[in-house]
Symmetry: C2
Subunit: 477 residues, 2 copies
């Protein structure tokens, strides 16, 4: 349907095209600031990155721009551009400007913070995750204003770009509390999300939550020679293996009591959408499986469903005793398993932690002491119905921009969507235009520029559409 | 029964007492040579240690003394002292002169190679394992000659002291082959063994064998982000945990097909002897359990039986994925378990390896590739009946020296006894007088000198007794 004349004459598209060159130049400039938030040596760069974004917003004409950098959080950027109509709905766009570390740096084909253009790609750390998509939204606002030939957006737009997402957003709740009034809105648009693939644009409707847990089984206080005590004392590594083995039954169902009680089944419409997306097992494995030889998972669900709408329990690491080269005949004093649970609506990390505690207690044999610790509070899962009016508007905006049918999908990973939803008390939708194989968090990160331009156009359409009375009314009941 | 006049007037005891002072001085001198065989930086010391022993044997009057140091093995010492009667049996005494490393050296209360006397103990690396017991046998021969008032022993004595026992005796088979004629004998006496405890002297009748195996489960080629593939590909750490969990049933029985087929039950007499030894669970755990909270093992067997006459499968180490501090949400590409099997007569490492291969094949799920490797050829188990005439003679000699009843026991660890038995084709008995809590392989190794003197006396009794026609005849049929 590309080139369909119904869509190609949209003024938003022309505006985006006219701004494309300066957009790429701006993104390249921003990538040059190595805002690696997890590395204290780069915290000054995170501040420079926030200042750079604030300056770009000022230059774009945003009337209210702030850098929030006084508290414990790394600097976040906030901006607001009120609609002319005081009754228009308010939308908050969420993104982040911190980037992942670059190790192993020797596997980059060019220096990670010296962006290069290759074909239709811009390469560099942060190009896709998430600087490209933040600037995509700045471009979308400019295109919206030009298309509407006005100096104020059709709706009130707010932008909130944090600096700690790659660190797990440890101060996000505090930022949301501290700036509750400023951040008030009717809808959140979450930028840090991807299309299914280049030829299959999708609108994300959710992310799994995650609870990371470490289980330590302690036997004695010291490793013991296995000739001296082997067969006569408990082996914590064997006991821990039995616990890990008991986590799943033979069908891969997770055996925590009550684990599935809160799991919401996807709607028929969602399953149909997922089934309509292209899927080739070998191709999927090649791109996502790290060289895995086959897919495997819960019976009765497709690979996409296993990734998007089903919870998991994965061993991230296991260790105990002697793990160096060769052999050492000991009974270990202790053994440790790191296990992460991916959660789906309406599971909650707190309840899963309770279920895990009960499971560990049940599987701790006599003579072993168990210790369970979890990573922070965990990340709750989030999903929004495809039938939500805001989601319908996003889908329509994406179809206008991409000139083809767009499906709903979800993401297998986790993010702060549920926290934003919960703290701000409004629906959250996703609008992104990057790709799953952009090598985010890996060497040679890239972004496909024409997709970002389509994303900007979709955003410009969305701001226009959200001002329509029937959607605005449903957003602000 | 200590001081019982029937035994205390034995001339062997008087001879040992007269030689005690020079014995301790000699042992202290030998300990000063840091013959750490596993450390190439100390290989010159291993040679010095062999030369020191050879010189001591020459000074004692042994007519034939050799250092075997030309081949790939670290130097071994061989000596022979023929009996006057050419029809007398020949006994080969086996020991070793290499010692364990001294790490962690900061936990030693004195420098490990500067021996000190503390009460009735001599402290230093190798004091117990095995220099003390090798010199104990030199002392026993001198006491035998003095007691018998002769210049030649009642039986032909050979001494074979290797320099690689702490390295797993990698060249023992070759040494035995290369020197087959010289090493020919009717009986082997194995020195590297301990009493049950200070108040409960025992004669060892066997050691468990061992097979060390490493099992690697490979999924993909790279770790994968668990949000991206979790729930949809096999997790090799989970799969390996299921294999390890399946190794034992709920009663701790090992689940390799055929594993128990070759296991020989101990005799009623042996079980009675083990049951008559003092046992206090908390005391045993404190001394042997590395701080373990409780004993645990195969139902129907006592702790001693679990250690001495039952086979085991112990996880020595397990690893996979991220094992550092904090969390990393990955699906590991591979996971590894190091498992050692302690074996009892008549199990054989080769057969257990075949059983393990079949077990691993059965428990490798689709999508996982398994790799099993074993440590060398494994060590076969060894045991000799308490009713063997040579063993009866050892028991009687020990009772004469210790002035109290002596029980039969076994050892849970492994050693080259089965290799000596197999290569030399003759029975092997144990005669040692060290203690399980001598801290061998650990800081602050010590030996209890009065026990070594009793052991030397027992050896002197044994050489006299083995010359008696009825035993000699049964040894050399």
């Amino acid at each position: 349907m590309a080139g369909d004349s119904r869509h190609s004459e949209q003024p938003e598209r022309a505006a985006v095209a006219a701004l494309a060159e300066s957009f790429v130049a701006g993104l390249a400039e921003w990538i040059r600031i190595p805002s690696i938030g997890v590395d204290p040596a780069h915290h000054a760069d995170v501040r420079r990155s926030a200042d750079w974004l604030a300056q770009a917003l000022v230059e774009d004409g945003w009337p209210q721009v702030e850098v929030w950098g006084d508290g414990p959080a790394l600097p976040a950027v906030f901006a607001c551009w009120p609609a002319a109509d005081p009754d228009a709905p308010t939308v908050l766009v969420y993104g982040h400007h911190d980037v992942q570390p670059v190790d192993p740096v020797q596997r980059w084909e060019h220096p990670p913070f010296e962006p290069v253009i290759s074909g239709d790609e811009l390469r560099g750390r942060g190009a896709s995750d998430d600087k490209g998509q933040v600037l995509m939204h700045l471009l979308g606002v400019k295109a919206h204003l030009q298309a509407q030939q006005t100096n104020a957006p059709s709706i009130t737009l707010k932008l909130f770009v944090e600096g700690e997402e790659e660190s797990g957003s440890p101060h996000l709740r505090k930022l949301l509390d501290d700036h509750e009034m400023q951040l008030g809105c009717d809808l959140v648009v979450f930028t840090d999300t991807a299309l299914h693939d280049r030829d299959s644009p999708t609108v994300n409707t959710g992310q799994r939550g995650v609870l990371g847990a470490e289980i330590v089984f302690q036997g004695g206080t010291d490793d013991v020679h296995s000739g001296r005590a082997g067969g006569a004392i408990p082996n914590p590594a064997t006991a821990l293996a039995k616990l890990v083995a008991a986590l799943h039954d033979e069908n891969g169902r997770i055996q925590l009591d009550g684990f599935y009680d809160d799991v919401r089944e996807p709607s028929t419409k969602e399953r149909e959408d997922y089934a309509s997306l292209p899927y080739d097992e070998q191709d999927w494995l090649r791109r996502n499986g790290g060289g895995a030889q086959a897919t495997r998972g819960e019976p009765g669900y497709t690979t996409y469903e296993r990734l998007w709408v089903r919870p998991t329990a994965e061993v991230n690491g296991i260790s105990g005793g002697y793990t160096g080269p060769g052999f050492k005949t000991i009974i270990p004093a202790h053994a440790t398993a790191k296990i992460s649970f991916r959660l789906v609506p309406d599971q909650h990390p707190d309840r899963v932690k309770e279920q895990l505690d009960a499971f560990v207690a049940k599987h701790t044999p006599p003579g072993i002491t168990a210790r369970v610790s979890v990573r922070g509070e965990g990340v709750p899962p989030y999903a929004i119905s495809p039938d939500d009016p805001a989601n319908e508007a996003v889908l329509e905006a994406m179809e206008l921009a991409f000139d083809q049918p767009v499906r709903f999908a979800r993401a297998g990973g986790s993010g702060p969507a549920a926290v934003l939803r919960q703290k701000l008390g409004v629906p959250l939708v996703y609008l992104g235009a990057t790709l799953p194989d952009d090598r985010v968090h890996a060497p040679n990160e890239r972004v496909v520029v024409p997709l970002l331009l389509k994303g900007a156009e979709a955003a410009a359409h969305l701001w226009r559409m959200l001002a329509k009375a029937e959607i605005a009314k449903r957003l602000s009941p």
